[in-house]
Structure formats: structure tokens, C-alpha cells
Amino acid sequence: MTSSTEQIGRTTPPAQYLVSREAVREYALAVGESNPLYLDLDAARIAGHDDLVAPPMFAAVYAGPAFAAAMRDPELGIDLTMLVHGGQEFEWGPLVVAGDQITTAIRLAEVSERLGMHFYVWQSSSQNQRDEEVSRGSWTVIVRPRE
């Protein structure tokens, strides 16, 4: 394990995610959305979108693989069973629709320790196939000490 100052700035390889209609519908239903833009292709097209629209918080899904890989970075040695999600932020650009190919880059921005707990903050940037930034994320994780 490297020291925490050396850990800041660490990156893992950008991760790709291809947005499917099935994934958008499954996600929308799982979080209780009923807006037809997310569920009904005709409704989405009539409203002027190319395909089913992903709810904003679907960012957690398309950026999820990059975040999962970052947490598993062996240089950090994080005990995933002691991990708690402390906070989350997203900023959104253009809407994501089914068929989009999203690439997410992620970087470890902050590391700190307080009372035996380790705090990590990653920042992610997700772009679609037209190189438009569709969202930026800030992911805060707390790792509790093992008793």
C-alpha cells in the first residue's frame, strides 16, 4: 500500500458502458419511476428524443463500473466489507438515451483519516460517443475499521 498522499491523483483505466433500453427500463422500474420518457419508446420519440431517456441518476449505473474498479485498486487495499457510502454528487450535461456509449474516467481526489476511519473521494467524468460530458460525479466512501 502506498501512503495516502501518493494515492491522491491515482486513476484506473476509463470504463465503457453501452446504454441499452432494457437497462434503462429495469433501472427506472427499480427506483419507482413512471415517467414514460424512461419506459415507452414512442413517448420518448414523440417528445423529441432519439431513444428511451435514462433518468439522471442512471449516472450511478453507467459510471458504476469505473467506480467499482477504482475502489478495487490493489494499491489502495480497501476492505470492501467495511465500506459505507458517505456522499454522492452528480452534475449533469446533455441527457443520456439508450444506444449511447458512455466512457467514464475516474480519479482519486481526496484521502483522509479520522478516528480510525478512512475517507476517499473520487471524481468521475462521463462522456458520450460525441465527446459531450453527460455527467460529472463525486463519490465519497468511508471505510470503517475492523473491530
Binding site: 437497462a23 429495469e26 433501472y27 422500474l29 427499480a30 427506483v31 419507482g32 419511476e33 415517467n35 420518457l37 424512461y38 431517456v53 435514462a54 433518468p55 439522471p56 441518476m57 450511478a60 449505473v61 458504476g64 463500473p65 467499482a68 470492501l80 466489507t81 467495511m82 459505507v84 457510502h85 458517505g86 456522499g87 454522492q88 454528487e89 452528480f90 452534475e91 449533469w92 441527457l95 463525486s138
Partner: protein, 130 residues
Amino acid sequence: MTLLEPGSELPPLRVIPDRGVTERYASASGDSNPIHLDEAFAKSVGLPGRILHGLYTMALVARAQTDAAGGPEKLKRLAVTFRGVGLPEAEITITSTVTERQGERLIVTATAKQQDKAIIRNAVAELEAG
């Protein structure tokens, strides 16, 4: 859709997550951490039982915003801090208040409460006005 301005309360969103919600969210999101799916495992790491995914609760906060503001393109930013843990089968209430207007953006603060306990507190959303 109601006219939103500083001081406006957004319509509250009330949801009772059912027993299966963590399974469905795990499948939809790819986050299958056993603290959300396995009662015995969750208890073994000091939790009261299977807990909701924080990002599921955040999605409810987001829905309260997009429903009130007129669609997904209106939500430009959302920042939350997770407090305590959310549990299945108990009602969650999302309340949101517009606190100020900055140019074309409305700033909203929101809370997710379950059994009188805030599980998301001081959430801040930015909505496109108009």
C-alpha cells in the same frame, strides 16, 4: 407543474420500498454488496438488517425534483450526504424547498426521512428554472 420560486415547497414524495426493492436495485445497478441482499450478513457487520442502497434513496430525491420541475433535463446537479441507513418496508418521505434563485438556476434543499430519522439530510439540487 407548479410555479417554483424561492420559498416554494416541492410536492413531497412518499414511497414505501417493498421487500424486493434491494434485489431489483442490485440487479439494475450491478451493486450486489451483501449488506443490501443478505439479512444475516448485514447483521454480522453491525447493521440492523438488509439496508437500502444509498443511491436508491438518492434516486428518490432526484425523482422528487424531476417530477416537480417538469422532466429529467431540468435537474442539473444533486449532492447528498448519507446519514444512517434506509431500510425496506418503511415509508420514506422526500421533502424539498426552493431556497434561492441564481440566474436560470433554482437551488433546492431536500431531505429524505424514514421513521422520523433523516437518512439524507441537506441534499442540494439545482434545477433549471422555467
